[in-house]
């Protein structure tokens, strides 16, 4: 039971942190609950499908199918997060003004929730497929179904509580700053995902360069501890990054910043010319 609880919790907080940030970033958007719910639902179904075909995926592409799938999922999420931030750079200011004027609860829902719903779906897909495989393993080894159910449910509940904590923690930020804060959080989230994605490409054997370890902080802040794990998901903390990972991380931040600049509305007609 405890095993189920720990694994489910671990995977749920990773997806949960992302959901918490998405919810905070879309504060005041009408129907965002439905979009996020759709992301979770489709992601869960996807997780089941990935788990079902785990062996076929694993054997695909000369044994690198799983790594390539992970890299693609992360890459797609990075692109969606970039799109979101670029959109926010263009329309964020009007929205913030509107929120201040009308009150946060009733702002218009004219926002591309698709991008963030996809990010939620991909996060749930990635973490969820591991949960499904793990739980299947427990069932197959004959742990009683009730113990499994209790463990899994408790893990899910604690993970969900964590998501709520992230969300309400972010909501404590004054509305004026919330977009600025979530934009930075989303940029760091994307950078961390990009660093993970290139590591999967390396593990797939597709990239064979810049694999040297840059530093090792596992003694101070181990990545597999609870804090290390959370920072890993949130800002892409890695205790033993490779050169390529650092490059991917920084490059993503640079691209994000550049996109934000390009997308930002001109301050005056002159600046636009």
């Amino acid at each position: 039971m405890l095993g189920a609880l720990i694994i489910v919790f671990r995977e749920v907080i990773e997806a949960g942190l992302i959901i918490g940030i998405v919810l905070a970033a879309t504060r005041g958007v009408r129907e965002r609950g439905a979009w996020v719910g759709l992301g979770v639902g489709v992601g869960t179904i996807g997780a089941g499908i990935v788990a079902l075909f785990a062996e076929a995926i694993s054997n695909a592409f000369e044994g690198a199918g799983q790594e390539l799938l992970n890299a693609c999922i992360l890459g797609a999420a990075v692109i969606m997060l970039m799109w979101h931030n670029a959109w926010m750079a263009r329309h964020g200011r009007e929205m913030a003004a509107e929120m201040a004027a009308v009150g946060e609860a009733v702002t218009t829902g004219k926002r591309p929730m698709t991008a963030l719903a996809v990010v939620v779906g991909l996060a749930v897909l990635r973490e969820g497929s591991e949960v499904v495989l793990f739980l299947y393993g427990i069932v197959a080894t004959g742990t009683s179904a009730s113990a499994l159910l209790i463990g899994g449910t408790l893990g899910l509940a604690v993970g969900a509580a964590f998501t709520a904590l992230t969300y309400y923690g972010l909501l404590a930020i004054p509305p004026r700053y919330i977009f600025a804060v979530t934009t930075v959080l989303i940029a760091l989230l994307a950078a961390g995902m990009a660093a993970q994605a290139v590591q999967f490409l390396d593990a797939a054997g597709l990239i064979n360069v810049l694999g040297q370890r840059l530093w090792d902080t596992s003694g101070i802040l181990p990545q597999d501890g609870i804090l290390g794990r959370m920072l890993h998901t949130l800002i892409g903390y890695t205790d033993r990054p490779t050169e390529l990972q650092l490059i991917a991380y920084l490059a993503t931040l640079v691209v994000m910043a550049a996109l934000t600049r390009v997308a930002a509305p001109p301050r005056s007609a002159r600046a636009a010319a």
Binding site: A54, Q66, Y136, G137, A203, I207, N208
Partner: protein, 112 residues
């Protein structure tokens, strides 16, 4: 200038994305998962080189080869094989676990 960059781009892509076939023959090792344990539990590999570990899961249940030290997370379904590519490693000990059976499935890669 633009033409030059365009001409160079495919070459650069090829150089960066040298496929598995272009890898200078990675040394191969074998690992078996049986009764939720790794056999052997200790693998000695050369430092500074890329290494391929073929993990054969003989159990009926899936396992996840997991190691933050080696930067690997790989699910190996029951009764099947998985390829784990690691390195180049600095000399040292790198622990790994089977995440789905973390109590029993433990092992270490020693790079020297």
């Amino acid at each position: 200038m633009r033409d030059f960059v365009l001409a160079l781009a495919p070459a650069l892509v090829l150089a960066t994305l040298g496929g598995p076939s272009m890898t200078a023959a990675a040394q191969e090792f074998n690992l078996v998962i049986r009764n939720h344990k790794f056999e052997p539990e200790e693998i000695r590999v050369p430092a500074g080189k890329r290494v391929s570990i073929y993990v054969s899961n003989e159990d009926a249940t899936p396992e996840e080869f997991d190691s933050t030290a080696l930067k690997v997370e790989k699910v190996i379904p029951g009764k099947s094989k998985g390829l784990v590519r690691i390195g180049p490693l600095a000399p040292g000990r790198y622990e790994f676990i089977g995440e789905f059976n973390a109590d029993t499935a433990k092992g270490v890669v020693i790079a020297e």
